[in-house]
């Protein structure tokens, strides 16, 4: 096979451009890795992503728009006789039914989120998911609330059954949420029943692993995992998921523990941005105080009963 390796003047200039652009890429990579999330390159990226979220959200409407356009075209090219009143009425009814079903599903989803807010006691607005990661390596979503709505990097995001991720970048009217299942995600957690601390980490295959438990701690399948609030990355006391598989034993302390994620992000359409979580420590202290008072009351009642019994015995 012949090889033509001759270079002319323009290809020499192209090689110089190539080298310069590769160096620029390397410089950008290094600067991006070294700077914080508030650095200039991250800020430019946030601005670009904020702009692209508008394009991304348009994607959701493309299917509907295409369908409507096809229907309109079909109507235009159809015979006048085929556009009878009955058909039109049928079409309207189908549209109404479709809209009603859409509203019903939305109400169900919002009710589930409202229930979660009441149960967990968190406060914060509900955001719509307007985009998903366009990069195979990231597991993230884009929501329609941004810094102008009070959303900040690091805020916890919840679905209808618990924590699903954390805000990683914000622009004025949108924010990117890194899901818990992303390999670069990690949340300080504890086992609700035993209060043992660990870390839940995402992975490239989308599975959540519970790691960094003490060697002698072996959770059981079904144990509920909640955020511990350590490190301040996630609000404390919110449900992360439940243990579904334990490969760790006394002889195999390095075994894996798999946690089921709360919600499949692919099915979510709305999420809660957690502005404030309930003061779990205060609630726990209050509960402990109430329990101590109840125990004291019970103890006093018991001692009074015993005294009456003794008094009654003496009289007899």
């Amino acid at each position: 096979m012949p090889l033509n390796l001759q270079q002319n003047g323009s290809s020499g200039a192209r090689s110089i451009v190539l080298v310069v652009l590769l160096i620029v890429s390397l410089v950008l990579m290094t600067a991006y890795a070294r700077e914080g999330v508030t650095g200039p390159i991250h800020s430019v990226q946030s601005a670009f992503m904020g702009g692209s979220s508008t394009v991304g959200s348009a994607g959701a409407g493309i299917g509907t728009a295409t369908e409507s356009a096809a229907e309109s075209l079909s109507d235009l090219t159809a015979n006048q006789s085929t556009l009878s009143g009955l058909r039109q009425q049928n079409q309207e009814l189908r549209e109404l039914l479709s809209n009603a079903e859409e509203y019903r599903q939305e109400v169900e989803r919002l009710q589930a989120l409202l229930d979660m807010k009441q149960v967990s006691g968190v406060t914060g607005p509900v955001a719509h998911i307007i985009g998903r990661s366009a990069n195979a390596w990231d597991q993230s979503i884009t929501i329609d609330l941004g810094s102008e709505d009070g959303v900040e990097s690091g805020m916890t995001i919840m679905g209808a059954t618990g924590v699903i991720g954390q805000v990683s970048q914000t622009s004025a009217h949108s924010a990117t949420v890194r899901l818990l299942t992303d390999p670069n995600s990690g949340a300080a957690v504890m086992i609700q029943s035993t209060r043992d601390n660990g870390i839940v980490r995402g992975s490239i295959n989308g599975i959540l692993y519970l790691e960094d438990l003490d060697e002698d701690v072996i959770p059981e399948v079904g144990d509920v995992i909640i955020t511990s609030g350590l490190g301040g990355s996630y609000e404390r006391g919110l449900i992360v998921g439940a243990v579904v598989s334990v490969n760790k034993t006394a002889n195999n302390p390095a075994g894996t523990i798999v946690v089921s994620p709360n919600d499949s992000a692919a099915l979510l359409e709305e999420v809660i941005v957690v502005f404030n979580a309930p003061d779990v420590a205060a609630a726990e202290a209050a509960a402990a105080k109430a329990e101590a008072e109840a125990a004291a009351a019970r103890s006093q009642e018991q001692s009074e009963d015993e005294w009456y019994d003794e008094e009654g015995g003496d009289e007899e």
Binding site: N4, L22, T30, A33, S52, G59
Partner: protein, 172 residues
């Protein structure tokens, strides 16, 4: 501005648009197509002699900025390996149907592999084997299938507009 250049710019904008709007919704398991890589490699093997480093750099940089990956990683991978494939293909002087497809496959694989390796180097929390088996390989296969289909379509378009003919004439 020549019609060829306009066609390339329109194609680049379309590739970015498809990446943002369509790609997230047509994932198969963990594989998501990368229209930016596919388009750049198609241009690299369709017009190997006039292919420069600016197009892949700009497209790679926009991809990094718009999709939230580390800025510069796709710009570097796409610039280095699409340029390499274009030069290699130009030097082979083989205009059968198989060779551009093989070169495109090589380019897609190298770009996906380099992107994955650089990500792990810059802190992506996955081992190299995992990265290859869960992302590089599935994405490569998906990109290749779409790339072959789009290449056959665009080759017909370029032939009718004379871009490839013009390119080969420049060579000789």
């Amino acid at each position: 501005m020549t019609p060829d250049r306009i066609a390339v710019i329109v194609g680049a904008v379309l590739a970015l648009f498809l990446q943002l709007v369509l790609a997230p919704y047509i994932t198969i398991l963990s594989a998501m197509p990368n229209f930016v890589v596919i388009f750049t490699l198609i241009v690299a093997v369709s017009r190997p002699h006039s292919f420069g480093a600016l197009l892949p750099f700009v497209l790679g940089l926009l991809y990094d900025l718009l999709t939230g990956g580390p800025v510069g990683v796709m710009a570097f991978s796409l610039t280095a390996f699409s340029y390499l494939v274009a030069r290699l293909f130009a030097s082979l002087e083989n205009d059968t149907l198989f060779m551009p497809l093989a070169m495109m496959a090589l380019g897609i694989f190298l770009v996906e592999l380099a992107y994955g390796m650089l990500l792990t180097l810059f802190g992506y929390n996955a081992g190299l084997f995992e990265a290859i088996s869960y992302r590089v390989a599935p994405c490569f296969v998906y990109d290749l299938v779409l790339g072959v289909i789009l290449y056959l379509f665009t080759t017909r378009f370029f032939r009718t507009s004379g871009a490839i003919h013009h390119d080969i004439t420049q060579l000789r």
